[in-house]
Symmetry: C2
Subunit: 324 residues, 2 copies
């Protein structure tokens, strides 16, 4: 593949980072990923990040590739204008960390940074499921629930760049405690963590279920196992996804009534279980939201999947390269 200009899009998570060479049309070429040992300190992670980028850049020399910029999605609170990570729940010690200055110095090109869920939303808007929407929300249903809001084709960052925390919308005033310090957040009811928790509770009752395999080994039970059981026809496991789908529907109802968006894109690991939760989600939105905006909104599955964040980061890299 002969390339000319390209950017690097990076999706930094709590356990690994993934990065890719992306062309100006948003097509992903080479990719790689590296583990993140968040305990080893931010300097070490930054070094790994920079050397991975340099490895990918070198791989483009035979293609006569020219690096324009890099874009980085980080879980947590970001001051994207300044290139600073305010705080990241999954990355120890990343507090008011200026990641832009050392990275730009090492690479010699601009670095764009943004919240990872916002990158996902931008990716889906640019090259994914929301290409035809002007106003959309995108949610990543993973260990937690991330969110990004696109209004008039622009990510809505809010006054401090911290808008879009859909996972921390309270849907049960005195509900389950959340790691953010609040209670009853959507994240506690519509994530992999929630599915696991629902399964642990279901095992306390006496119904017949394949999940009983984990009865003496609850620590090991994952949302993935529940999904597996659901696919094998286990009614209890399927009910847990319906329950999660119901709560998700309440969260989406709130987005629909507040923002009247055209589209909601759902991604993240949990979205693999689409057929088990989406009918209940759709039903709940139709029942609970106002009729016109509920009929308007399309609830769709992510097209880019794992590449959504990388693609959005690449978009921001291109934008930053062009604006400097």
């Amino acid at each position: 593949m002969i390339m000319e200009d390209f950017v690097i899009g990076i999706d930094l998570g709590g356990t690994n980072f993934r990065l890719a060479v992306v062309n100006p049309q948003g097509i992903i070429a080479d990719r790689m990923h590296c583990p993140v040992e968040s305990g080893r300190g931010k300097e070490v992670i930054l070094e790994d990040l920079i050397s991975s980028i340099q490895t990918l850049v070198k791989s483009q020399i035979p293609n006569q590739g020219h690096l324009l910029a890099a874009g980085l999605g980080v879980p947590g609170l970001i001051r994207s204008e300044e290139g600073i990570v305010t705080e990241s729940p999954n990355l120890q010690g990343w507090i008011n960390f200026d990641i832009r200055t050392p990275t730009e110095a090492a690479l010699g090109v601009p670095l764009a940074i943004e919240n990872d869920a916002n990158c996902f939303a931008i990716g889906e808007f640019w090259r994914g499921a929301a290409q035809d929407a002007n106003h959309a929300c995108a949610l990543t249903l993973g260990t937690g629930v991330g969110g990004g809001i696109i209004l008039n084709g622009q990510i809505w960052r809010g006054t401090d760049g911290m808008a879009g925390e859909v996972g921390h919308m309270v849907i049960e005033t005195d509900g389950l405690p959340c790691k953010c310090g609040s209670r009853g957040c959507l994240e506690q009811y519509a994530s992999a963590t929630a599915i696991r928790q629902f399964a642990v509770e279901a095992l306390m009752s006496n119904g017949e279920t394949l999940l009983k395999r984990w009865q003496d080994n609850l620590e090991e039970l994952t949302a993935e196992d529940v999904f597996e059981a659901a696919r094998e026809g286990d009614k209890v496991a399927q009910d847990l996804f319906r329950k999660m789908g119901y709560f998700l529907g309440i969260g989406l109802t709130n987005l629909v009534n507040l923002l009247n968006v055209e589209m909601i894109v759902l991604g993240g690991k949990v979205s693999s279980a689409w057929e088990f939760f989406i009918p209940e989600t759709e039903k709940t939105v139709r029942e609970r939201a106002f009729k016109v905006p509920a009929q308007r909104v399309q609830i769709v599955k992510s097209i880019l999947g794992d590449n959504g964040g990388i693609t959005g980061a690449a978009y921001l890299a291109l934008k930053r390269a062009r604006s400097i």
Copy 2:
């Protein structure tokens, strides 16, 4: 007072409409109000509305006033571009009602129409508490809870002009039934209706309270009576406002986490009881929302009060006069 150009701003409610002469700087001159008998059909209300406007216009003849346009805030779902009321819960038979065509024909000037809570938000943004904010939410705490969202100085209407339904954000997934057909809507916990309902429940228990006056006459008990008791130092009544303030704080937490606005303006009748509910609301937002956006947001009382809707409607009238 010598006026030249002016507009008429109108706030149409389920029980009365209020209208005023407003100058291009947003200053209200003459005002009047009329009862609405929603059972008498929309044609009768429209006639009353038009003749009231004409009365006010005539009153400006001695001032050599010149009517530019009229603006109308209507409770319900509005297609403002088309000048059509899609549906109004408080106005019987107002379904897909083109109010613009007959009104413009009768008055000979343009008519702007908008949802009443959006008018309130625009009014507070133009001439009230949110003048210095770029991004703000405004809530009317009355019989129900209305809402308007201002982003980048513009009302956020959404795809179908139906965004901003803050009162119908679910904060208790399986909570109290709401007249919108959903359950657990903020409106059921942070309105005059909610205060009344909390009081009725409180009377079931045996505490000492001034509210006991209504024990055999529960139908007559109003939120206003509860406010009166709170002002007389009644602890039970004061607790009810704290409870309402707590739920309101949950609703505002969601707005803060989703939109990261600079300001939230609270108006409507219930906001008179400010000192009894706002400490709990503020505390809840600080505890439950993310730190940075929670510190950012200012929660303030409406400056325009009852005139907020009229002022916003007048703003839209001016805008429409200038765009035609």
